[in-house]
Subunit: 455 residues, 2 copies
Amino acid sequence: MEKAHVFSKYPLMVLVISIFLNLFFCMRVCSGSEDHDQSDLSWSRKAAEEAESVAAISCSGHGRAYLDGILLDGKQPVCECNNCYAGHDCSEFIPNCAADATSGDPLFLEPFWMQNAASSAILVAGWHRMSYSFSDKTYISQELENHIRKLHQVVGNANTSGRFIIFGAGSTQLLNAAVHALSSNDSDSSPSLVFAKIPFYQVYESQTVFFETKDFKFEGDVSVWKNNSNATTNLIEFVNSPNNPDGQLNKAVLQGRNAKAIYDRVYFWPHFTAIPAPADEDIMIFSISKLTGHAGTRFGWALIKDEAVFNRMTTYLSLNTLGVSRDAQLRALKLFNVILQGRSGRDIFEFGHKLMSSKWEKLNQTLSASTRFSLQKMGSQYCTFFRRVPEPSPAYAWLKCEREEDKDCYQVLKAANITGREGTVFGAESRYVRLALIRGQDDFDQLLQRLKAIV
Amino acid sequence: MEKAHVFSKYPLMVLVISIFLNLFFCMRVCSGSEDHDQSDLSWSRKAAEEAESVAAISCSGHGRAYLDGILLDGKQPVCECNNCYAGHDCSEFIPNCAADATSGDPLFLEPFWMQNAASSAILVAGWHRMSYSFSDKTYISQELENHIRKLHQVVGNANTSGRFIIFGAGSTQLLNAAVHALSSNDSDSSPSLVFAKIPFYQVYESQTVFFETKDFKFEGDVSVWKNNSNATTNLIEFVNSPNNPDGQLNKAVLQGRNAKAIYDRVYFWPHFTAIPAPADEDIMIFSISKLTGHAGTRFGWALIKDEAVFNRMTTYLSLNTLGVSRDAQLRALKLFNVILQGRSGRDIFEFGHKLMSSKWEKLNQTLSASTRFSLQKMGSQYCTFFRRVPEPSPAYAWLKCEREEDKDCYQVLKAANITGREGTVFGAESRYVRLALIRGQDDFDQLLQRLKAIV
C-alpha cells in the first residue's frame, strides 16, 4: 500500500486515460484483421507496392513512368516524357518543337483510367492462364465474350444476337483475317478484288498488298468499280464507319450478290459519333484501342453472322498467333468491367465525348479566324445512347488547305511547326492533312497554339 | 478520493498491466506505418485482394480458379478441373476417363511459379502502356530485349551478339514472318520452296500452306530435295532443334548458296536437352511457352543476323498485329526477372530438368517391361549450363508400336484409354505416336497408369 500511495493522487484519472488508450489501440489492432483497409496481403503485396511506387514517380504531369520502363539507376524506371517536354521529371518545356498530330494514339482517355485507378488495376499471378487454351478448348475467354455482348447491348451500337465473336490482336489482325475468310473460295479461280472508298485508312491497302495470296488482290478506290458490275468476280469492300480520317458514317458502295463488306466499326462509340441505331452488318470489327484507349494491349473483336466465315477466321487466328494473348484478354475484361459498373457506360462515354467535342469546338473557333484552312463538315444526328443530339466530336480533323498556292498542305503545316499525316496516305489529294485529336492533352494544346500562330 | 478507494486495492497492478497493454498495442499500431508488412496500399489494394481471394479458392490440387474464370454465382470464379477430375472443387476422380497426352501444353512448370508467387506477380495499373508504341517509337520493350540478351548469356544457349531481336506472338507468328522475309525477293519469279525433315512439327506445313503467297510454297519432306541441288530456286528449311516430336538436336539438311534455314530453338533450354554450345544460326526462334511454361501469354522472339531479314520481319509484325501486346511483354519481363534473380537461372532449370528427367525415367521403366512399344533413343552429351552430362529429359515421347499387327499405333493406345498425337500428323508412319510429357502432373500420372495396364 506504500507504493500505491505514490500513484494515489490521480489514480483514477491515469487509469481511465490508460484504459481509454487501450480501447483506442485495441479498436485499431483488433479490427484490423476484419477491416477492409487493413486486411493482410501475402504474396500479392510486393507487386502492389512496386506498382504504387512506380505510379508515385513524379513526371510533372507531362510524362509517366512505367513498371517496364528503362532503369537508369538500376532501381526506378525513368520518366517517359510527352512530346515537347524533357528532363528527368519532364519539367523542361522545349520551346520550338513541332506539335505532333500524326498517329491516332488514343491517349485522350488516360486521365479517365487514372481517375479509376482502384477499379481498373489487375494483379496477375505468376501462374495465371499458362495453358494454350481455356477450359472449353478455345482461345477465347467466355467471360470476356459475355462482357462484349453486354457492352454492345448497353451502348446500343451493334446487334450481337445470332453473331459469332472472334478475338484478334487489335482490329489489325482481324482485317486481314476477314479478307482471307471472304476470299478463300476454291471454286473461284480468279482472285477476289479488294476495295475501299477514298479517303481511307492506309492499313487497308498496305496490309492487303503485303499479305496478298492467289485468292485476293488490293484494287484500290471503290469508285473505279462502282459502275462496272462484273457478276463473276468476288468483291470485298472495307467500310470504315465512322471513317478515318473524315469521321463520316460511311455505307458500303458495292452492292449485289458478289459484293461483301468488312465493316470497320472501331470508331463507332459515343466518344466520336452519335449512335443512330445498332450496326447490323455481316462482319463488324471493333477494338479496345478506340473504346478504352488501350492501343498497346492489342485487343479487338469481330461480330460475324456467317458460320463458315467465322470458322475460316478462327483457322486464320490459330495458324497466325494461336489466338490472342490471355494477358491482353484479362486486361480487356477488367476494363469492360469498369465501363459496365455503376452508370452502365455513361461515365467513360460522357468523359470521352465531353473531351472530344470540346477539342473540336476549340479547333473550329481557332480556324474560323481565317479562310486559309477548312475542316470536314460534321452532320448532327440523334444519339440513342445520350438521348439527345450530341455536339460533333470526331477523332480526327480532316484539314484542307484552301489557298490556291497551298497545294502541299502537309508542308504548309510543317513550316508552321505542326506534323500531321499527308492526305496522300489516305489516297486523297495533298491539299488534305489529317490531324489526330485523340492524342493526349499536351499534344492538342501545342497543336492549337501553333495553329493560332498561323491563322 | 472516495471513488479512488474502490480501485485502491491493486491500483498499481491494474495500471501497470494497462500501460503494458498500451505499449504492446502502440508497437503494433505505431510501427505499422513503417513496417514493410503493414505499409499502406491505396489504389492497388483492391486488385491484390481480388487476386489473393481467387488464388485461395480450393480446387483440391486438381484444378485452379482464375481471375477471368466463369462466375457461376456472380461472385467467385469456378474451379477449372484437370483432365479426369470433376466437381465444384475438382475432388471427384472420373475412373475410366482417357489419359490426355495430346497437346504440348507446358503446365509442368506451373508449380514453380506457385512456389515463386511473390516475385512473379505483377500489378498492372489501368493506364499502363496505353500507347501504340514505346517511347523510342518501336513496338519492343528495351528492358525486355536487354533481359533476353542477358538470359541467353547466362544459359549459354544462343549467341546474341551482332543479332537483331524481334518479338512475336509466340514462335507461331515468327515462323511465318521468317518465311515471308526469306522469300520476298523481287528479282526471283519462282516461289521459294519450303521444307522440313520428317518427323516435323505440323504447324510448319499447315501454316505455310494456309498463308501461301506467290513468293513461297510448302514442298514437304526435305529428303526428297536433298540430292537435287537446283541452283536457281530459293530453298527454305525449318530446322527444329531439339526436334518436336523426337527430341533430336537436328541440323539443316539443305546446304549451299540458295538454302536458308529457320532454326526453331524453342526447346533448346536445359529443361529438355544438354546445351553443348551456344546456337549460332542466322535465324533462331525462341518462345516463353517452353521456357517458362506460359503458352497462353503468346510471347516469342527471334534472333536475326541479317538486317534486311530483320526489317522485313518487322514490317510483317507491323502489318499483321502492330507488334506484340504490351501486356504480354510486361508479363515476360517479370518472368525473366525471376529467372535471372538469385542463382542466375539455376532454380527454374534445375526444377524443370529434374521433373522432366524423372518423367522420362519412369516412362522408360514402365515400357521396359514389354517389347510392344519402343521409345526414341536419347543421346547423352555434356551440358555447359549444368557442367555435367545430364540425364535425358525430352519434352515428348516418340513412341513406336513394334508389333507387326499394331500398324495404327494411335488406335492401339486409344483402345488402352490413352490419347496421343498420330505419327502421321508429323509426316511419319502411323506406327508412331507422340506423347506429351510436358503437361501437368495429373496428366502424366494417368498416362503412366494406363501404360502400366497394357504392358
